[in-house]
Amino acid sequence: MALLRYESQVREPLVTGEKNYHQVTEDIVRPIETSPSRLWWIGFLISVALLLFGAYSVYREVTYGIGQWNLGKTIGWGWDITNFVWWVGIGHAGTLISAILLLFRQGWRTGVNRAAEAMTIFAVMCAGQFPIWHMGRVWMAFFVLPYPNSRGPLWVNFNSPLLWDVFAISTYFTVSLLFWYCGLIPDLATVRDRAKLKWRKFMYGLLSFGWTGSTKHWQRHEALSLVLAGLSTPLVLSVHTIVSFDFATSVIPGWHTTIFPPYFVAGAIFSGFAMVQTLLIITRKVLKLEDYITLEHIEVMNKVIVLTGSIVGVAYITELFISWYGQNPYEAAAFRNRWDLTTPYAWSYYLMMGCNVLAPQFFWFSKLRRNIVFTFFMSVIVNVGMWFERFVIIVTSIYRDYIPSSWSTYYAPSIFEVGFYLGTFGLFFTCYFLFSKFFPVIAVAEIKHILKKNGEGFKSNMGNIETQSTEAFVHEHSHDHGA
């Protein structure tokens, strides 16, 4: 008769504090039922102000044309596409957490997946603004769709990576939204059934689609989540691969490289996790959810950051090496425009290197990985660095083209270019503030699901399991399938 040791020696509990199912509901749903704090209002109003400034910037651009931006002869893509790639990249962590970690049965994802998925949706919404408004004559934006038209019909070019982007981003947004909402339905039902106010009962009744918690429904819900995760996993990789094709399939020196797809995907996960850290460190504090988003969660995400940051570092160095080893004079020139300190944009290249490659290396130290203030600071640094990565790729590759007479004067954005970017911050945070007020920021049902195995409060009950015989344990747990 073999004895079992049930409790892991390595892993920390995912939910701290002595919790039972009802307390989980209480803790997570409470912020929805109380009025928001002063801090929430301040943050929300700042976000709305930024959003309004962004709307004004877009209004200027639509009314007076792209000339409102400081794009030049060779710089057809500047801040706008930089921002587009940056926002799409941020979205990737949400899908990684919700889909890939679900397939890998990582129990810790349950504490952070809801907020991260919400972040994905809002980030993709922000990303979508840039290519749409960059069209200039935005009222013709529907031309990107393959619809029967009176011009032949002349179809869109299905061989173009820009059209692949249209399909990739819109599919990504739709699937992420469906995945997120399907997960929300049972939790919204929990809010509905607790609601005392008439309007709250009505609103959450509407949103929860009449969910009852029937076993058959849960069975289908689980199957749906698993297949959606399986679909989202290649989808998220395909999205940033296709975004990188926008550059990689061109013949512009500095863009025309085969390394782009994996390099972009790693960068996306890197910046996305940094944004998750930024948001969750604030959220856990403001909503008092430290028992659910623990130091353990922050530490594992920092491990992902140091891993992906290092992958990105390898990509930067490979790229630089190939520009010399490939002996293509144009490629070499494009890279000289980055590393040569006498060129006008060298500062952005070294800023990128410092923020993305060197800074994350601090996370090899577990003391720093578990330091919340340091993590917050680093999460901002990483996203600054990742913004500059896209800026370096886009602007330094095109500001000096083959004809020196058309070389731009120093490209700096206009106030409306910056305003548009700030406006998407407004959009993102307005959505996030509303989300954190009206939706459960942690997946209530999923936390309850892992509570007995990974909750601190249940450790004490483990004694009798440890002394159980293997046969008895197997008999009792033969229906468990992972976390």
Binding site: W164, L178, G210, K216, W218, Q219, E222, L231, H481
Partner: protein, 200 residues
Amino acid sequence: MAVKKFVVGCFDDEAVLFPAVKNVRKAGYKMHDVYTPFPIHGLDHAMGLRDTSLHTAGFIYGITGTTTALSFISWVFTKDWELNIGGKPHFALPAWIPIMFELTVLFAAVGMVLTFCYLCQLAPFVKKHHFHPRATDDLFVMTIELTAKSNEVEIINFLNSVGAKEVHVQEAETGWWLGRYDNDSKPFDNMIREEHSATA
């Protein structure tokens, strides 16, 4: 839909629920459903439910997406408008892989979610009977249908003996109806009231 009578047993621990489900089935009572606040793995098998075919539906939606993309793009570029793109072949399959993939995922995801909502009858304004408000919080609610043959008192005692914390009898509409959760009027309540007034 029909109004039926149920014995409702509430459990507060899934470790007690599992043997209770087994015993109820063994005793031959007609189990209507078990409502739980979170998915309990293995409960569907314990209740004798068959596996869902949602995966198969998803696969069919997925290949529909692939074939839609492939057939449409090839029709456009080889039949309808043979656009000459740098003298490259009209049937440029490798360049279509991204869109074929995206449509596969899109069709599978949207199709599966709609099928899920249809099968579970989920939609805004759909209202269903809830046997216990805490079924979405911390209680596992087992419902046993009372038929002409079954003995109400016996079932109540049985549920108490297998560890239910709370047992009571409810009449409930088994289907859904359109309504609002802030409004407690139920069509079958009115129906029953009308019947009562007719007999009185």
